[in-house]
Symmetry: none
Subunit: 225 residues, 4 copies
């Protein structure tokens, strides 16, 4: 969808544009991001952006897609096909949290695609983004049931949804003021003066959440009989 020119420029310039655009959109939101200011951040001329992309909309869509792909690679890239659901959850939550801390802008962009006023974008991305994860989670749960490491009575789809809800809410808490406050109100995690969570707290939180999910998956003793 971007213009050919995007492929013809130096790699580091392309990376710079995509990075700064992601940061800008994440920081100010779509509407409040100023193309002129963005160009300046990128160290290029205003007009140059329009050599790479047709419009602000297209740039936004591309940056979102690109960011979601980067997330996917970071979180699922190292997943071993041989792993079971517990190993995968352990891994994806760990990598997801790490990625959210390293690149909050991409998580923010993910959250923003659900934003009011941007539904036109969402339609294009939602399935594309959610389907692969949903399918893998469900497949892993089913495999877990077969392997008798997951309770046989669970509602597979529902549980996959719950796991991903938890994942999304956990990452959201790391990048969004609102979700961080919400999480703290529920889980009573103290925050420092600026409201940020420490590495230690984040790790503890992640482990606590993973434990909860594991607990939901585990075969119930009563049923083992």
């Amino acid at each position: 969808m971007p213009k050919d020119a995007l492929g013809n420029i130096a790699t580091d310039k392309r990376e710079r544009v995509l990075r700064e655009a992601a940061l800008a959109f994440a920081e100010h939101g779509f509407s409040r991001t100023d193309m002129a200011a963005l160009a300046k951040r990128c160290g290029i001329a205003k007009g140059s952006i329009y050599n790479y992309f047709e419009s602000k909309d297209e740039l936004y869509l591309y940056v979102c897609r690109d960011g979601l792909e980067r997330s996917r690679v970071a979180v699922w890239g190292g997943v071993d096909p041989a792993w079971n659901i517990f190993q995968v959850i352990e891994h994806t939550f760990r990598e997801g949290v790490r990625f959210a801390r390293a690149h909050p802008e991409y998580v923010k962009l993910y959250l923003s695609i659900a934003s009011v006023g941007l539904e036109g974008f969402a339609a294009a991305l939602s399935t594309e983004v959610e389907k692969p994860t949903a399918d893998r989670l469900k497949e892993l749960i089913r495999a877990g049931i077969t392997a008798r490491i997951v309770d046989r009575d669970v509602d597979v789809a529902q549980l996959a949804w719950l796991i991903n809800n938890t994942y999304v809410m956990t990452l959201a808490a790391l990048v969004s003021e609102h979700f961080r406050v919400r999480l703290q109100v529920y889980l009573q995690v103290p925050s420092d003066a600026h409201g940020a969570l420490s590495d230690r707290q984040v790790t503890a939180l992640r482990d606590r959440v993973v434990a909860m999910i594991t607990d939901c998956l585990k075969p119930k003793p009563a049923h083992k009989r």
Copy 2:
């Protein structure tokens, strides 16, 4: 915070302004909502809005707050203090879903306070909105444990968070394109041509979700022994 004039005008005019503003902000988002167009929708002159509110920002904040209060009343207003956690969940999910279908705009506004670029607003509202629900849920779970209708080993705070996550995601699916698609991808709920969920589907979904939560809460057979 609004100007005195807001309190001096006819009730139905005030309601009209608040309703139309909520609809407009929910439909287009904060930035893309045009004050002139909004005034026209309200059937008043552009300048009149500025007799009621200092600025677009103040109007937005007021409308959000107002909408959140309306949600609270609709969902928690009919809760009987004598009810246990299961009854309350049953009730709040039922009323929450009903409210979301009747007034998707308010749910959208709730989701929007987490939006990028509006974090200044969020700070003012997040705790105010989340705390009461969090406290009540946790209190109900604790009471349930005491009454031996809830598993004694659950992590109270975590479970309250999980319940509310589920609530939020369910309602979000009713008002947001992205969350609806996401839910359908996970739960494989079919949608009609326009992507909307039928009443029947929504009811079934709600019951399925409530059942899952109930299942998480119930004392585990293994522990009963």
Copy 3:
């Protein structure tokens, strides 16, 4: 020119309106003075001003005229018809300075009628305001020549103009940032931290200026022969 209503309201309310209007116009200038804010300062409703005056323009004109009349009374009111030019200058400069310190707003309004963009107003007021003073000054100088206390060779009209120029510039320095700075640059009068002139400095300045004028008027020794 004002409406009848102005004459029908309590005297203290009328005084309040005229005083606050003078202060407001002097502080912000005509264009930047807000009728709503002015009404609030006056402790009356916005609409009430329009019961007294047809328009902002009319109010402004009336306030200017009123202020100029007050100046005239304050400065020329106590002038004894028997006094000579030196006594009158002594008196008017003393009272003028006193008035400017007590009511800088009226002096500011005088200066403002010369402002660009308000020439329509000026036309109505200029002659009305300047003529009486010009005539009295010239008459006094002529009488001084007859009485041989003023040099017989002076250009009467020119000197009257010069005296009034000096008067205007002196008062202007007391109420206007620019003219104060200008005067200080020329006369090297030090100012305090806020740039204001002390009573002592003002008195000294006034006497110095009056002395200069007196010097211009006095018969030249060379001519006495």
Copy 4:
């Protein structure tokens, strides 16, 4: 202070903008000058002005400064360092009057910086504008005293102030309705139907004023003895 773009555009376009802005501000005053109308006068788009200047305020300040500099060059540019005070007064009044007739807008802008409501601007400009002239005048008077062409008893600072007061009032009379009326009331200069002064009258007026000043400076016969 203006943006870089101002320096990058064609010289004639820049000159056009500065000229039209000076004319517009001088004609209507700051507040009543409409940026959209100004842009049209300049033959450019509304937004273009904002490529050159941050705001209306900045444009105004720049135009004033620029105009004052032009005045300075026009009036003082041709002054020969060897000239005495009489020659300089003769020259500056002649050139000042010529400039005021050719570019009344710049003289109006000078007068406007003293206007009520614009005092913020004045602070920045007053000293900058007045100091050089004040210093040169005082130096010339002092040199005149040394050369025995100026009365040794004059108050140098005061006389410099008086000379400049006269200069300002004379030029003001050429560009401002109020000051013209005021001057005519004092000096009984007749005006034509439109109130304007003819070239002949202006020249006569100028010579009369210069003569008065010269008279104030000249050594008094009494002292010559």
